[in-house]
């Protein structure tokens, strides 16, 4: 399978001395739906900035569909569409003229620019807003405008840096459907997000980056298989003053009526319920503390300095 993106030993040191990337290496196959995950400040946006040549790298190499950005930058740029994390369009221009102008920058003739603009504005529900100055759009509309802008030259690789931040649930779902569709039609997609449930349902491959290093990289299913412990939350019928000691399970009391239990996947839950019944502990309901990717993520990126009490 051809590679859409190949990043080798990429390093970035900012002027102030911050070492944002400490040599990351990963590949994205053509047609993949790829999640780049990591906590705040991990280096995701820095990596994306370098890949889309908004930033200079300190070391390493980047190839986009075989075009090295140091050798054939212009060819590499043509294949990428970027939805950045921060809004970056002219506040005074209208939606329509922002898009036509962007198409022009790619050398797309006006006739085709108009067709693409209408097509993608309609697809993302912004056609009615085409004559509004961009500053008058809501936050969610601005995000969608950036998606339309990134697609205006119909790139083979779409990179989205937190496209669903600040977007309501309903809209997020339509965005997902839209992106899945686009991916099915052949566009390779790289996405960063802090909604891990979103990554789990959309993406087939992930890389987790922390403090400028890649700590996990592989297919979603293989990574989730590594997760051998899940945390269950039990709601209790009667108050409990102390966490019970159950053989084979680690229990912790959250409050009088709530208990967290870490369950080894091999062990299963049958024995847990037998033990609970034996102790006379009545459980009214049960759920997973986090979805599986979240659980994995939290275990990998477990920092001492988080603000949990």
């Amino acid at each position: 399978m051809a590679l859409a993106l190949s990043v080798k030993n990429l390093k970035k040191r900012y002027k102030g001395g911050v070492e944002a990337l400490k040599g990351i290496t990963f590949e994205v196959e053509q047609g993949d739906f790829f999640a780049l995950l990591g906590p705040n400040g991990a280096g995701k946006s820095t990596a994306i900035g370098i890949i889309s040549s908004l930033m200079n790298k300190s070391e390493g190499s980047v190839e986009i569909f075989g075009h090295d950005i140091d050798v054939s930058l212009s060819k590499a740029k043509k294949e990428i569409g970027l939805v950045p994390q921060e809004f970056n369009f002219n506040q005074f221009e209208t939606v329509y003229s922002i898009l036509i102008t962007q198409a022009g920058y790619y050398g797309i003739p006006a006739s085709r620019a108009k067709v693409n603009t209408e097509k993608y504005l309609r697809a993302l529900g912004l056609w009615e807003k085409r004559d509004s100055p961009s500053r008058m759009l809501s936050g969610g509309m601005k995000r969608r405008l950036m998606i339309v802008r990134a697609l205006i030259h119909e790139p083979k690789l779409l990179i989205l840096d937190e496209p669903t931040a600040g977007v309501d649930i309903e809209l997020r779902r339509t965005m997902w459907t839209f992106l899945e569709d686009l991916n099915k039609k052949g566009t390779t997609i790289i996405l960063t997000t802090h909604y891990l449930e979103e990554a789990e349902s959309l993406c087939r491959t992930i890389a987790i980056i922390d403090e400028g290093k890649i700590i996990r990289n592989g297919s979603m299913s293989s990574l989730l298989k590594q997760l051998n412990v899940e945390t269950l939350v039990l709601d209790l019928k009667e108050p409990l003053s102390e966490a019970p000691k159950l053989d084979g399970y680690v229990c912790s009391r959250v409050n009088d009526y709530t208990l967290n239990v870490e369950v080894d996947i091999e062990e299963g839950v049958n024995k847990l319920f037998a033990l609970l019944t034996e102790r006379g502990i009545k459980v009214t309901s049960l759920r997973n503390k986090a979805n599986r990717l979240e659980e994995l993520f939290i275990r990998l990126v477990n920092k001492q300095d988080t603000f949990s009490p």
Partner: protein, 257 residues
């Protein structure tokens, strides 16, 4: 990008630059028209009539080419400096940086846009001057060549200023502390013959002297310096500034961390 694509990209950028200053014409076209009309009234009519002849022409006729040149210089410069800086400030320079446009297209797009504003204001001021004096053109070729080269040169200078600027103040400092003094001392208002030898020699290192005089030569047929040497100098600086701007763009100075 192939040639057609490059042409489209360049056209897009120039078109956008022109649309920008046209949209805010009250800030971009009206002020120079008003300022220059005031200059015409005060220096040309009120004071000028007492000054008598300068370089063999009455003062109004003598000062008009200088004032036209001054408006070309300040407007080409200001347009690119503020447009490019506000692209950085609003981050929409990223729209340009992610695109496959070569750096020279980016540079030419901004510079041509700025030069168009400079020339447009120059034409506007020339038309206004007709209310005060007659304006015949002695050498059309020199007039047009000088105005275009000067507009390009100061558009380039404005671009370099925009690249280095980190805050809005930075695009006001150079015009205030360098451009305005050089223009006022660049022979806009007087003939260098009036200066003592020492100050005349000092004036010769001021590039604006050459532009003002070459342009005055185009209109009136008189100049304090050799015209073709002047045009050569302006052309030389255009090349130097172009090369320097491209070098800055290639390195990503001021736009890419």
């Amino acid at each position: 990008m192939n040639r057609t694509e490059i042409a489209i990209a360049l056209f897009t950028l120039v078109h956008k630059e022109i649309r920008r200053f046209m949209r805010i014409w009250v800030q971009t076209l009206v002020p120079p028209a008003i300022t220059m009309t005031l200059y015409f009234v005060i220096f040309g009519n009120l004071i000028g009539s007492r000054i008598g002849e300068m370089g063999g022409f009455d003062y109004m006729q003598y000062v008009v080419p200088g004032l036209i040149m001054m408006s070309v210089i300040t407007n080409s410069y200001a347009n690119v400096a503020s447009s490019f800086y506000s692209h950085k400030f609003q981050h929409c320079v990223e729209e340009i940086l992610v695109s496959p446009m070569p750096n020279w297209v980016i540079l030419f797009g901004f510079v041509i846009g700025g030069a168009v504003r400079g020339i447009l204001v120059g034409i506007l001021v020339s038309l206004l001057s007709l209310f005060f004096t007659k304006l015949q053109v002695d050498n059309l070729f020199v007039t047009i060549l000088v105005i275009i080269l000067t507009a390009l040169l100061f558009a380039l200078a404005g671009f370099i200023n925009g690249i280095f600027a980190n805050k809005f103040d930075d695009i006001a400092i150079i015009p205030t502390f360098i451009l305005t003094p050089l223009t006022y001392l660049g022979g806009v208002f007087y003939s260098l013959d009036l200066l003592p030898d020492f100050w005349r020699a000092v004036s010769m290192v001021n590039p604006i002297v050459y532009m003002v005089n070459a342009f005055r030569y185009g209109i009136l047929g008189v100049s304090d310096v050799d015209v073709y040497f002047s045009i050569g100098m302006i052309g030389f600086f255009v090349v130097i500034f172009t090369v320097f701007s491209l070098w800055l763009l290639n390195r990503g100075v001021g736009i890419r961390q």
